[in-house]
Amino acid sequence: MEDIILLSHGNGGENTRKLVEEILGTLGNDILNELLDAAVLPISGKIAFTTDSFIVSPIFFRGGDIGSLSVYGTVNDLSMVGATPLYLSLSFIIEEGFTFSDFRKILLSIKEGAEVSNVRVVTGDTKVVERGKGDGIFINTSGVGIIKNGRDWRKREIKDGDLVIINGGIGEHGISVMLERLGIKAGKSDLAPLNSLVLPLLDRTNGIKFMRDPTRGGVATVLNEISRKYGVGIEVYEDKLPLKEWVKESAEILGIDPLYAANEGKVLMIVDSKDADVVLNFLHEKPDGYDASIIGKVTKSSNRVYLVTHIGTKRILDTLKKDILPRIC
């Protein structure tokens, strides 16, 4: 019979100890192995702190799984404020009956993700819920990083003529997960850690004035958040949007606008126009940035986000207004 996780793995007793050992066996390090009620961390400086929950379905998707998604999702949130990601917490909520083999696969994927993005899992928790009270496995994380001098972009002023840059193809995570749920084999998630891409970029130039990873709600939603937060207008050029062919085709079939689909390896930046070349040249040399392009411009003449279509007509690009997507992140 297949080895499965039971309610008793969450009762705090012998089985819980076994489950914890399973985790330590894969993710253990000197801080985690102390098994104290809280991790004690030797850090000083300006600290960034973030939290996120991951409930993706399917749990294993093309281009990643809930484990790597948890690590990179958290790493990326820290990276977006210019922080070097250092430590993660992981909290598993597991539905009884979830197989140990799948759980081990997820742990290995977390281990690999943590190694690739150079972070350590330093504290965590496990809970097991009754069958039907969860959907396989949910993961909650938090992340801590430090912001080195010169990487904190928050005080830089966004002005007329600033450019909107993205590091590559739009909507790949959201649309590929959607296709996978429909049983269609096409494309894959763009899931990737962004710390090794954006942190050196922040050291290269002071021209970056805003960064966010356009996950849920997609690029259109982030642009609307920028527009509202800073009281500026943004023009987006449909012609310039980097879109893979499979994204274009399947978006058309599914009736989804890729501008509203989630990304998990993309960074959307507002960049001073005089620094745009430096940023693009830097990105174009990197595997996660070779398709980077300027997709829009900040305008002070309005305070809304507009799309300039292929034809040259203009229409408003609003925030996502209805549920179009099932659980993808």
């Binding site: 279509t309 034809i311 229409r315």
Partner: protein, 353 residues
Amino acid sequence: MDREKVLDLGKRINTVSKKEINLMEFCGTHTHEIFRFGLRDILPQNIHLLSGPGCPVCVTAQEDIDYIITLARIFPIGVITFGDILNVPGSEGSLNHLRAEGKDVRVVYSPLDSLKIAKKNPQKQFLFVGVGFETTVPLVAYTLLMARKERINNLLFLSLHKLTPPAMRAILEMGEVKVDGIIGPGHVSTIIGRKGWGSIFNDYKIPFVIAGFEPEDIMLGILKLIEMVEENRPQLLNAYRRSVREEGNPHALEMINRVFSVSGDIWRGLGYIEDSGLKLNETFSEFDVKRVYPIKFKKYENKGCRCGEVLRGVLKPTECPLYGKVCNPQTPMGPCMVSSEGTCAAYYQYGEN
């Protein structure tokens, strides 16, 4: 999309067009695409585009939603349908509310998925709610044929399917708005053919162009209509030949006829229209939910929502007192705001607020 062609058609329309005219696009997808590509920007001011009732979710009568909700609250029946229907407000909540109450409500992309669900859960009864015009019906008909062939006995059907030509005729007959030309629905016409519009054209002699959905298709359709209007030479023209044939799709039509028969039906906004709906044939009556569960429920009026007038082209969404104030895509008061094909939703999404 061919940008140069679109712009060129725009120029030609601007040269030819002189009269102040109203064109009605019957189909909600046309409305949506016209906004998505910003085509109004390149049309002259004297051409007014009116949206018609071509959004199947929008014309679904409130009492049909009420029937489903009442049924699922009384009996342990799982409801399977297309996503858009979930948000349509009934008198007491929507199917989304029903799901939040813990009732089994599932969304599928294809009606065939309902067979899989029924087979996987043989102890439970399910209801597939079929919504859509002639375009959607053949696949639902096929699903019913398969359900019979595979002897699936825990799946019922509710047909809210509607036929488009009777609705078009009703709008012309009411005469509430001056319609100078009609942009005919491309997808529907793929099934019913150019022929399907013949009797309406013969009776009303109104310029009628069946158009596709790429921006250049829509612009070509508009150009052809304007030429007819300016020269006072109405025609029934198929400008979507790569998809629409004179006879339509005989195979699909035959499949529809095997399973469904024409009956009168209630359209939201238009009321009862003779021969505008599709009910299950006598031979499929064991699948007919209304036969199995002939329940009674209280009927309510929907106060304030003017979706009906929007569907008839009498009122622009922005002229409705609820639009954008209490009615928006998150909390729609009426179905025109729910479906992506709905006129109010298209206006709202693309910035007329």
